[in-house]
Amino acid sequence: MKSVFYIIIFCCSLLTACSPKPSNVRSVAQAAPIYPDYADVAIPYNIAPLNFLLRDGADAVEVKITGKKQTLTVYGDDKVCFSMDDWKELLDAEKGNILTVQVTSRVNGEWLAYKPFTWYVAPDPVDGYLTYRLIEPGYEVWNSIQLCERNVQTFDERVLIDNNTVDKSCMNCHTHSSQRGDLSFFHLRGKKGGTILNRDGKLRKLSLKVDGMISGCVYGEIHPGGRYGVFSTNIIIPSFHTQESKRLEVYDTASDVVLADFDQDRMIVSPLLNDSTVFETFPVFSADGKYVYYCSAPRVKLPNDIKNMKYSICRISFDAKKGELGNSVDTLWNARLTGKSACHLKASPDGKYLLYTVADYGTFPIWHHEADLQLMDLRTGKVDNLKIVNSNRSDTYHSWSSNSRWFVFASKRGDGQYGKPYFCYIDRTGKTYKPFVLPQKDPAHYDLTLKSYNIPDLSKSPVTFGPKDIENVYENQNAEKFH
């Protein structure tokens, strides 16, 4: 046993000896050209290692992380990959502290010490599981789609369902309720498709369309109690912009909001949410389930007046005991006054905030460069423009961690084509910090992937189904008809 230990030590020494060490270092004033951009971000103490690479043509690098209690030094070529154990130990020890990261790289034979940057190790953890849809950004067309779940504390990713095994059918993104792995849904299209409801470990296939609805259910969320779901029904039209930078515009020519009662297999319709002169969409429940938030815009002539299509944020009460919607609608954020259009609402689990996306116009902002996140304090109505969070590309499709201290969103920052999940910390005072992209084992992952990460959604626990379960439901279960 002892000899094995010495062999390991010897091998480690050999490996360490192989890593070039900085000498005759020249300090430079510029920031380290690292990718992904992890400079000066806030990170949860339970996140996987923030591996990164250098874009300065380096052939050797030393990274020294200094905290209050611990120091970690790592060597690499042009990539910096941390050991999982060392990383966990460091972050556990430095909860609530600021780490200083010194990058020294060898470029054309010369060692350069870049300006150090910091990592704030937030004392609040992020939910451990993240689901997303991996899809090539083919506008309205798809070929290969996967719903995946990533353990954000490690690099483990598992496929929840691959459309290869369900007749290449389209699949919409997977949405948890109350950040629970055993309460979620997604729409599976195709001949044998339906809305797949995952409730308490049981899978059901539902046909959420009844006479009078303009379409099947599209965007939505499940009530925290699990009995109800609120959904939009939309006639969706994709169109192309002639200006290259804008690419695709997707808009509704009609949309309403409906509720589904999963216990009694019935749809609940309120005339207040089914006004043909108004587009209603993107409904979600408040944290306590007593309200439905949704977006609403007066009908305009499309596509000519697309730039006048601006959605406000509205709210209607909901009585879960009776399964009834209220009889009045409040406007929380008025598009007429702001001149912008809101979409993708998400209420924080502590009930304090509403996070949403704002674009110049329309209802589908993923190709709008100006689409940004905004945060409304539901207690005061104050809106934070989240300047430190947003980028010059589309930032949207967000979800909260169960402790309301973190949210994740899909951002097309950088290449503008491929969405990537970014995590943002919001402290107890409501202050937000610079977000960071979901770390990958190989830091070149985002450079090389041709898949976009759609609608990242956080959960405290892993989803309770796998690909075989969904294939089984798809092939063998009849969709339950609602009335």
């Binding site: 090539e136 950004p137 083919g138 506008y139 309205e140 067309v141 798809w142 070929n143 290969s144 496929v159 691959d162 290869n164 095994t165 039209i237 994709p238 169109s239 192309f240 912009h241 002639t242 200006q243 290259e244 930078s245 804008k246 690419r247 695709l248 515009e249 596509p303 697309i306 950088g414 290449d415 503008g416 084509q417 491929y418 190989d442 070149a444 992952h445 450079d447 090389l448 041709l450 796998g466 690909p467 075989k468 294939e471």
Partner: protein, 541 residues
């Protein structure tokens, strides 16, 4: 002794025949298919990319096949590699079959297997990894046979090896394990080893089913991976289409026109390249009526759920050439995602170019970074890296940047006319877009639309002495005659030449004489727009 030597000589002679025959076939009759195969795949020299091969069975076959396919980029590379692989198929098949059969029969069957594999390689989206899987399967059996003869004397050890070896065969070579299993089964039956025979049968049937959920494959895919077809035959019609695409890509426009004319084919894709090449040569309206025109489908493809992949693959070219980068990007992304493994080197290059032209250098770098990890395109990338482009490349993209759309509007993917009009609203001097728009109108027999577009985009840009192309003059006359505006002043305004006017009078006279019968007009006016306008029939598919 002599017989043995003769047998060996025949074996190697046949091997040489397979080698040369395959090479001649692929290089002389099927080269464009091989180039296309390289264009619709991408092999990256990165650890993360290589690790993706383990997500499916047959990782060794796939990694080897894709690695080899990248060399199809070079002239003769594809033919050389495939002919070597066919020879290997022949030699291994012969070697495996010789264990059970007489030499002469093994030789014939070996040739047969190689020929079958050659035919399978004629399918346009066939993967080299399928051939490697076949070779791997036979190779696995030969290794087993070698071991069984020498070291596997213990029947329990033999049984264990059978189980492990078949599993390994599937893991490494996918459907190649079927071939391996079949040969091992015969071996076991010949030895009267009934237990291994049953184990082989069960294992071959069960392994794909057991591993299918982990590999996320359908049942059919699990049994056939990575093969896509069991039988195929040479498709010279597709070879001609791929030739047009390839020659167009390399800028041999005159050759494309000539090949299209000599193809003897009447389909949308041939017309598409014929028109596009003529457009590049500045002679599209001159040549439009002298070739088969399936309404406007030979100008721009309408992409839908039933569109064949080849049309999707070709479709970005026209948008790229006329300067409509949104549609070019859309088409290129579709070409990329519908490529056999969702990775196409050609489409990635096109996407990089599009973003370089639109000035989105971050998006361009995304694609350039991927391409920089390849064997064949790193130099191409170096020439195009933003802020570090060669002069020729920068000039080429600057020229295209000139025609960027400045006015924004919305249109559906099927509304080509709006897209073309938008190009001209921003830059009326974009002659390629002009020709496409006008020809699009004319082939749709929309002379009213043509007149609107011509008046909006052509008339204001005409120089003092410019005479319109005879096709456009003919179309103008159709509109003017329909709206009874053929007075001298109007004809002068539209610069209708006396010759065209005289022809029009003559045509009209003969048309009226023929009372709708085009026979009289065919010889003199068969290639006029008037004839197309009167006699071309639209057949709805």
């Amino acid at each position: 002794m002599l017989k043995c030597k003769l047998g060996k000589a025949i074996t190697w002679l046949l091997g040489l025949l397979v080698l040369l025959g395959s090479f001649v076939f692929f290089q002389c009759f099927y080269p464009y298919h091989l180039y296309y195969r390289e264009q619709t795949q991408l092999f990256l020299y990165t650890s993360e990319y290589l690790s993706t091969y383990f997500q499916h069975p047959a990782w060794l076959a796939c990694i080897t096949g894709d690695f080899l396919t990248q060399f199809f980029y070079y002239i003769g590379g594809g033919a050389a590699i495939l002919s070597l692989l066919m020879t290997l198929v022949y030699l291994l098949s012969w070697k495996a079959l010789r264990i059970y059969l007489p030499n002469w029969l093994s030789l014939i069957l070996g040739i047969g297997v190689a020929f079958w594999e050659l035919l399978r390689n004629c399918e346009q989206n066939y993967l080299t990894s399928s051939t490697v899987a076949l070779i791997g399967g036979i190779g696995m059996f030969l290794l087993y046979a070698l071991a069984a003869k020498s070291i596997l004397k213990n029947r329990w050890l033999n049984l264990l090896i059978v189980i492990v070896w078949l599993f390994a065969g599937y893991w490494l070579f996918g459907y190649g394990a079927w071939i391996e299993g079949l040969l091992m089964l015969i071996w076991a039956l010949k030895q009267k080893n009934w237990v291994p025979a049953i184990v082989i049968l069960v294992e071959v049937a069960v392994i794909p089913l057991i591993l299918r959920p982990a590999y996320l494959l359908t049942k059919e895919q699990a049994y056939t991976y990575p093969s896509r077809n069991m039988v195929a035959y040479p498709r010279m019609d597709i070879e001609k289409l791929l030739a047009l695409d390839c020659e167009f890509y390399f800028g041999h426009y005159n050759k494309v026109v000539q090949m299209a004319q000599e193809s003897g084919m009447k389909n949308e894709a041939v017309s598409y390249f014929y028109n596009l090449a003529n457009c590049m040569l500045g002679q599209m309206p001159d040549k439009l009526m002298s070739f088969y025109q399936p309404v406007s489908h030979g100008l721009i493809f309408n992409l839908g759920p039933d569109t064949p992949f080849l049309y999707i693959f070709f479709s970005n070219e026209v948008w790229y050439q006329v300067g409509e980068m949104t549609m070019a990007e859309h088409s290129a992304i579709l070409g990329e995602i519908f490529s056999p493994n969702h990775r196409s080197s050609r489409m990635l290059r096109r996407l990089a170019e599009i973003n370089l032209i639109t000035g989105d250098s971050e998006a361009a770098k995304k694609y350039l970074r991927i391409l920089s990890k390849t064997q064949c395109y790193s130099k191409w990338v170096a020439d195009r890296w933003p802020d570090n482009q060669s002069k020729e490349v920068a000039a080429m993209y600057d020229y295209k940047k000139k025609y960027a759309v400045t006015a924004d509007s919305l249109h559906g993917s099927e509304n080509a006319r709006t897209a073309l009009r938008s190009l001209l609203v921003s830059h009326p001097d974009n002659t390629k877009a002009q020709d496409y728009l006008f020809c699009f109108d004319l082939l749709q027999k929309d002379v009213k639309g043509f007149m609107e577009d011509y008046t909006a985009f052509k008339l204001p840009t005409m120089s003092g002495a410019e005479i319109p192309n005879s096709l456009y003059q003919q179309a103008l006359l159709v509109y003017l005659a329909n709206s009874k505006q053929t007075d001298a002043e109007t004809l002068k305004h539209y610069r209708i030449s006396p010759k065209i006017w005289d022809d029009f009078i003559d045509y009209t006279k003969k048309y009226e004489q023929g009372q709708g019968d085009g026979t009289l007009l065919q010889s003199s006016y068969g290639q006029s727009y008037w004839f197309y306008y009167h006699f071309a029939e639209f057949i709805k598919k």
